[in-house]
């Protein structure tokens, strides 16, 4: 930085906090309102609406709305379902996509070029374009279920956990991120491993994976934040899962508009399904931001 630059920048520095603070208010106010309102009765929420009291925990405060949430929905069940599905989609996705990325980036085999081109082609297609045909497809797919220990052939994936997991494991963008990262690793790792008699699977698991923690972190975060099947899953489970005991948290919002709407309870429920994610984000803030940055820097 030259002195000219610093001088030119100096007066602007303090002034710039004003728009930045106003923008911060703009981005925070709905979230603050949500949490504060979740502690109030409906009457109090509306009474406080015309003043800054809407953002302040004042008046009669209680956790009554939170208690009411548990009467209206099986909260722990929904949360457990979401955590289970999110874990499976993310973990299976890491395995399947990283192995494909590895094969594409560092192994020579016939058809690799075609497969890579095919994966790139699917990158630009948003999932929503095929959601309705996808429902039809999964409604007719076979699955091997178990009655006790006896395997039985079942037709149709509707109303299951696997319908919420299996279609979302593979992700072209994740494969692409893995491949890009693996290509940047030093050449010759495989030769050295082969000299020691290690097979491909062992080389991958013992050498490549430990060297690639950053890309695994990036893909984990991107999957949890942006996949239509993880924490934010809504439309897909709404269409494919009717039984209450298999539904995830986001679909649970529907239960608050079925009979009498209590906005206090709504605010409590959406606080309950938002704040855990906010806490995780604040704890791993740097990694989150780095992951999004990596997604944009694909060169």
């Amino acid at each position: 930085m030259t002195t000219t630059n610093l001088k030119a920048g100096a007066p602007a520095r303090r002034w710039v906090y004003l728009p930045m603070a106003l923008l911060a208010v703009f981005f925070l106010f709905p979230i603050v309102f949500m949490v504060v309102a979740s502690l109030k009765t409906d009457r109090q929420i509306f009474a406080d609406m015309d003043s800054l009291k809407a953002f302040l925990p004042v008046g009669e405060l209680s956790f009554a709305n939170y208690a009411a949430v548990f009467d209206r929905v099986p909260f722990w069940r929904f949360l457990g379902n979401t955590l289970f599905v999110t874990f499976c989609v993310t973990a299976l996705g890491l395995i399947v996509n990283s192995m494909a990325g590895y094969a594409l980036a560092r192994m020579r085999w016939k058809g690799r070029g075609i497969v890579f081109g095919f994966i790139i082609a699917t990158l630009i297609l948003p999932f929503d374009t095929t959601i309705v045909p996808m429902v039809y497809l999964v409604a007719n797919l076979p699955w091997i279920g178990f009655e006790g220990i006896k395997p039985v052939l079942e037709i149709g994936w509707l109303n299951t956990y696997h319908v919420q997991i299996v279609p979302f494991v593979v992700n072209a963008f994740s494969i692409f991120l893995f491949a890009q990262y693996f290509k940047s690793l030093p050449k010759g790792l495989e030769e050295a491993a082969a000299m020691d008699g290690a097979g491909w699977l062992r080389t991958y698991w013992r050498i490549i994976v430990p060297l690639s923690k950053p890309v695994f972190a990036t893909v984990t975060i991107l999957t949890v934040v942006t996949s239509p099947a993880t924490w934010n899953a809504y439309l897909w489970p709404l269409m494919t899962v009717q039984s209450e005991e298999l539904r995830p948290v986001m679909v649970g919002v529907q239960y608050f508009f079925q009979l009498n709407i209590s906005w206090g309870e709504v605010m409590a429920y959406i606080s309950m399904i938002t704040l855990p994610m906010v806490a995780v984000f604040i704890a791993f803030q740097r990694s989150f931001i780095q992951s999004i940055a990596n997604a944009g820097m694909k060169d």
Binding site: S51, Y102, A103, T122, P167, Y234, M267
Partner: protein, 319 residues
């Protein structure tokens, strides 16, 4: 978009590694590599064929039939009837296409532009910039379902937005029920969507800004240029690759507008917020006309594909 860079040859695989212990030849290693490569990629290939190509094929075949989602009657081939209906009869679909493009036309410049402004603000070397980054990014990690519910409440006639407007204008302007008026409902959804998504693109722009070396600015500063000139003639041209990425991701995301509409307005009032995906779900799922839904999906698929290719072409030619 960086996809272009994948054309370059992939890292050369190891050649003829000496394997003294097992006394295997070059041919064995390559054969093993062939097998292993395919084995590593096969789960992903099967899943992609099943859940990406599969639905596209279903869509293509169903769209020429009168199939129902759950029906004992076998679907009949009806030729191009679904497409004729979509293009010539279904006024609500036409309105939805117009709404979707209108939404994208507003969200793309607003979200892309505001994202750049935020990135420039938090890229300054000032105290507290990490705090501001975190705050601006917070809505991104909040589910769209939650945000739509929350803003639906804020936009009510007796909601917070109107209280604020009334307070700011000294009681002169009390606002209205924004989501209940056909002329303001989509605008209200635009503002909320930008609010939710802009932090994501702030980070993308920020990454682009940080790849510009300081020397570029030092050279510029010595020439006695104004900050605006430096931004216009140094920063902006260097951000072109980022621009392409931001443009394409926001366009595709905004073409898929659904959750906000589903939760806030149900496509109303008077179809003013109905979108392409909303119609696909309504016809194909709610009304179980999967043949017609598939035809709409196929049309949407082509629209998105054309847009993406067009944008890639446009942004690449400038380089």
């Amino acid at each position: 978009m960086a996809i272009a860079s994948t054309d370059r040859p992939l890292t050369a695989a190891p050649e003829s590694p000496p394997r003294p212990r097992r006394r295997r030849g070059k041919g064995d290693f390559q054969k093993a590599e062939q097998r292993a490569g395919r084995a590593f990629a096969i789960p992903a290939i099967i899943l992609l064929l099943l859940f990406v190509i599969g639905p596209a094929v279903v869509s293509l075949t169903m769209s020429f039939t009168n199939a129902r989602l759950i029906s004992p009657v076998a679907p009949e081939f009806i030729g191009l009837d679904n497409f004729r209906r979509a293009f010539t009869e279904d006024d609500l679909f036409h309105q939805s296409v117009a709404n979707t493009f209108g939404f994208a036309a507003l969200v793309v410049p607003l979200q892309g532009g505001l994202g750049l402004v935020l990135a420039l603000l938090v890229n300054q070397k000032i105290a507290g910039r990490n705090f501001f980054r975190t705050v601006y990014f917070l809505p991104v990690i909040t589910s769209m379902v939650v945000i739509s519910l929350l803003w639906r409440f804020l936009y009510q006639e007796d909601g917070l937005i109107n209280s604020a407007l009334s307070m700011l204008t000294g009681g002169y302007y009390a606002g209205q029920a924004w989501l209940a008026d056909p002329s303001t409902a989509m605008g209200a959804i635009v503002i909320m969507s930008v609010w939710q998504g802009v932090g994501f693109h702030m980070i993308i722009w920020l990454t682009g800004l940080q790849t510009i070396p300081d020397e570029v600015y030092e050279a510029g500063a010595l020439d006695g240029t104004t900050p605006w000139q430096r931004f216009r003639y140094l920063t902006l041209p260097l951000l072109r690759p980022t621009f392409a990425f931001v443009l394409i991701t926001i366009t595709i995301a905004s073409m898929s507008l659904f959750v906000q509409v589903d939760i806030m307005t149900d496509g109303g009032p008077l179809g003013s917020t109905s979108t392409i995906v909303y119609q696909i779900v309504q016809k194909g799922f709610q009304q179980q006309q999967i043949g017609y839904g598939a035809a709409l999906s196929l049309i949407f698929f082509c629209v998105v594909l054309i847009l993406a290719l067009l944008q890639r072409r446009l942004t690449r030619e400038k380089d």
